[in-house]
Chain length 214, copies 2
Amino acid sequence: MDTTQRTDQQRSADRRRRELLEAADRVVLRDGPQASMNAIAAEAGITKPILYRHFGDKGGLYAALAKRHTDALLDSLRAALDAPAERRERVEATLDTYLAAIEARPQVYRFLMHPAEGGTAAEQGFDVGKHSAPLLRRMGEELAQVIEDRLDLGPESQQLARVWGHGIVGMMHAAGDWWLGERPCSRAELVRCLADLLWGRLAAAGDRVGGPGF
Amino acid sequence: MDTTQRTDQQRSADRRRRELLEAADRVVLRDGPQASMNAIAAEAGITKPILYRHFGDKGGLYAALAKRHTDALLDSLRAALDAPAERRERVEATLDTYLAAIEARPQVYRFLMHPAEGGTAAEQGFDVGKHSAPLLRRMGEELAQVIEDRLDLGPESQQLARVWGHGIVGMMHAAGDWWLGERPCSRAELVRCLADLLWGRLAAAGDRVGGPGF
DNA sequence: GACTGGTGTTACCGCTAGTAACACGTATGT
DNA sequence: ACATACGTGTTACTAGCGGTAACACCAGTC
């Protein structure tokens, strides 16, 4: 059991794992989030127990799969968030990056937003509400960190930043989801509307004639 | 087949349907969104085929169940939205109403946010992204209508209102979900933070020393 | 009394996630 | 050279799911 052999094995296992993940990716892209383990195994040219040896259970495979895409998307978002430009431009660029991603690959995005599922009887924690997709949480935390690092929000800075991070991400997600289903306008228009909302146009708008206003 | 008898039968069927829905409610509240049809039938004291005769399939039962809670929650939200007060107060009241609801019954809320699932091979439309929970969509449309009715937003009023409706609902949902899982602050504080976000504090905040600002 | 319609059952189908048990190749220790 | 251990792969299975077909019972009606 010398070191070189162990690394060899590990390398082989890692390569195998990547191949399996790519096969799973193709199936999920084709069949949606409810792709079966049988289908994934068949696509990879092997049988189920191998998948289970590599990933434990379906949740493990899905987590590994989600991590790849989540990391990639988060990298794009960070890039847009870090670009050298005015705050408004940067916010719009980030929104546009996210919307472009979900527009380009709706199946992947749909998969990422899907909660864990826990088929038979595992991982059930009903008493709390933490069912949201990991991607949303990670994006929220990431954005919160950026906000807290860069904005001066007074004494309650941290709390405000975290609430805003998750809130803005949720706004982006829900609006994007609705937009993807109905396509009521162009992406650029959607970006502008959302940025306007974040820029306080809701509070600044005048009441409509005849009513007390929202 | 005279009218009175048909009404009698219909009444009986309706009562039965309500009983079944209440049983399903109890099971979902106990087991979460993945409650099985067997469990629900057992809770109602009957067997599966009866459930299927009443609701068609699992999606039908879940849709009926969701409609009850969704209608109830939307009524509460409408009440908060229509209260006689300033705009900011009303926004805060609406946010608080939603958060209080999900805080009081997280399982129900979790169930409502769950997408349709389509067990075996039904209702699969992967090419579009319309997987979101009906509750989110309905709340978004409802809020959009209120915004459009009451605010003067210029020529692009309708589009802005719809984007904002879905965006604000998504913000509320994501922030509420995160808050419910981590409980980082009181409900009132969360409400204030979110209202501040909607009131443009993000755009108004100053840059932190040493960086160009978000 | 035969007939019809609603309510209920049992027993099944095909599918899923997940696993146990077995077979093959290969490198190693004695 | 041979036995041993190990990783890789298979087949065949379990338990449970959503959903359904076929049958039983019990009312009211012609």
